[in-house]
């Protein structure tokens, strides 16, 4: 395994309607939305983040389909709910290449994501049949800008 930093970032939950899911989770779990939902046409999704009042608790990303051809419809068809885990990495390309060599399927090569202010994300499917998102760390982004 490479020695680069890999930090848990969030759990993604597929929902049909972000506003109603936000109300339920805020009311039931005491978490709070971090801002208004963001439409991301590249990812064909609308996303919003919820943070717990307890520091260190994982962030929840609510994800709803944007457009008729969004893959989120498939996830919702299967019941929706928690469907991906996101890790933040320093070197996105290197981590994608490493996982690919370990027979992870690269579903989407790095692309900018509106929900992360243009930081790039990549999507991979693990041999354990689980979906993972990799997010380029802010540090990496600054390095690229320099």
């Amino acid at each position: 395994m490479s020695d680069q930093r890999l930090c848990f970032h969030h759990i993604g939950m597929a929902v049909q309607d972000i506003a109603s899911a936000t109300r339920v989770l805020e009311d039931s779990l005491g978490c709070r939305s971090t801002g208004p939902p963001v439409d991301d046409p590249l990812q064909k999704a609308t996303v919003s983040f919820l943070k717990s009042e307890h520091e260190g608790d994982p962030t929840i990303e609510l994800v709803a389909p944007l457009g008729a051809d969004s893959h989120l419809h498939d996830v919702l068809q299967r019941g929706g709910g928690a469907y991906h885990i996101c890790y933040e990495v320093d070197d996105l390309e290197a981590k994608v290449a490493e996982l690919k060599s370990k027979r992870w399927l690269v579903i989407q090569q790095p692309l900018p994501a509106a929900a992360f202010d243009g930081r790039r994300i990549a999507w991979l499917y693990a041999p354990t049949r689980a979906l993972f998102e990799l997010l380029e760390s802010a540090v990496q982004e600054e390095r690229v800008e320099k």
């Binding site: 996830v75 027979r103 690269v106 579903i107 979906l131």
Partner: protein
């Protein structure tokens, strides 16, 4: 030398393995002409990914190595990706032969 029939057998085993995870109405046929990839296969995006993993796993089990088929099938390459078990078997056979030819040249 890897025989095409052995590849077809591995592909059929992969389809069987995937079908075990699918509801009856979504199961794939395992005939050589059965369409297993593409929109007319009836698989959703997660089913598609699971099928690719099943195929790579069966090829690995059968031949102790498996060419990565994911990239060809998932990318929008110039060539039309194989959609049936038969076409995929031909494609994989070519990959194995390319690998063997490459190894013999080294």
């Amino acid at each position: 030398m890897i025989a095409r029939g052995a590849i077809v057998k591995a592909l059929k085993a992969a389809v069987k393995s995937l079908n075990a995870q699918l509801p009856a109405e979504q199961r794939l046929s395992d005939g050589e002409d059965a369409i297993i990839f593409g929109s007319s296969s009836g698989l959703d995006s997660l089913g598609f990914l699971n099928l690719v993993l099943c195929i790579e796993s069966e090829l690995e089990a059968a031949f102790s190595s498996a060419p990565s088929i994911a990239e060809t099938i998932m990318s929008g390459s110039d060539q039309e990706p194989p959609k049936t078990i038969g076409a995929l078997a031909d494609f994989i056979l070519d990959l194995f032969q390319d690998e063997a030819n490459g190894a013999s040249k080294e």
